[in-house]
Symmetry: C2
Subunit: 211 residues, 2 copies
């Protein structure tokens, strides 16, 4: 959403960077409810209007922050698809866990709240423009793991009939399902088991009851 | 949460039923934002305090409604695990799609908002007691498809090393991931493809790079 504007104003990149950095710090310190654009402006030493011009609400700003954090997660292609998926999904799980705990006073074992992740999901559902930004963000970002899966399929590491989209939904979806819906903790070996299950499958053959 | 109380007051079952029915109607008509306990009380012809005694906030009431709707979805065991999963997951996908559209004026093709589903996810994240109710609800409800998968594994229709939990996370998770995160529509044949992928897997063999 802000990309075209940004590209046209290269001298603003410094302010954008400072704003996102301040936003990140304040989100970690205070969490979603007590996060305010006013405080971000003060810490980044910019006028509030400078922030509002780019991001009309705190949800827009937080989604931009999520985009920045996601962009910092590498998608490595070492040729070992099982390992590459495990590394990438572990990074996602770790990032989600960190994000759900921001601004929380109690971060004990029993705290299963999805925190700010759920707040942003609701913001995307509530405001069509925030929803568009979030959906575009994931479309752009997921192109990387989808390309990783495509290359693995092409070199024969995945079954030729594999849909990268469906496979990736199973993998990422399982993580978000535990985080947002069931609250079952994503334990240390969960990602490995998930990747094993998704790659190997649970049926004896494909379409056993159809072919 | 309300179960023990309910069991101790069998004469209240009629009021509970009327309240949940009125809540369902009003949610469909108005959506999450304009849903109010006061209107539920008027339509169900009960005192507001009767509702608040059982469900202290509208989120508690709506989660109880989701539980009731979920309980109406059958989990059939015909002995054909592929078909049983497809039928069950299609019912979940249909229910989620209906729920996300409640109270919406515009329900066009382009409307990808997760609607009230996302609002309830956020309510569960925001209020520890609502979160507990939601997590207990899914724990209780998911026991049914998990038992279905366990029986299939025991009779050899699923690979013996299958974890029902991980397999079910992949299946349900993919649906919620599309609904809540990417906004990619769950098309007509998606559930079939998802079940095929989860059962058959995408790797040529289990642990190809380890064994």
């Amino acid at each position: 959403m802000t990309e075209p504007g940004r590209r046209g104003r290269p001298r603003d990149e410094g302010a954008d960077g400072r704003i996102l950095e301040a936003a990140h710090e304040l989100l970690v310190e205070r969490g979603y409810d007590r996060f305010a654009i006013e405080d971000v402006a003060a810490r980044a030493a910019v006028a509030k209007t400078t922030i509002y011009r780019r991001w009309p609400t705190k949800d827009h700003l937080l989604v931009a922050l999520v985009a920045k954090i996601q962009d910092e997660v590498a998608v490595a292609d070492t040729g070992d698809i099982r390992r590459d998926l495990s590394v990438y999904l572990t990074a996602i799980a770790t990032g989600l866990d960190r994000m759900r705990l921001v601004g929380r006073d109690a971060t004990g074992e029993g705290d299963r709240s999805a925190g700010v992740v759920a707040e942003l999901v609701a913001a995307a559902a509530r405001h069509p423009d925030v929803g568009d930004v979030v959906r575009n963000l994931f479309s752009r970002r997921n192109a990387l793991p989808l390309a990783l899966l495509e290359r693995a399929r092409e070199r024969g590491a995945l079954a030729p009939e594999t849909s990268s989209e469906v496979l990736f939904d199973q993998l990422a979806g399982a993580l978000y399902y535990r985080l947002l819906i069931t609250g079952v903790p994503i334990g240390a070996d969960y990602v490995e088991r998930l990747v094993d299950h998704a790659l190997a499958g649970s049926g004896v053959t494909r379409h056993p009851e159809r072919n």
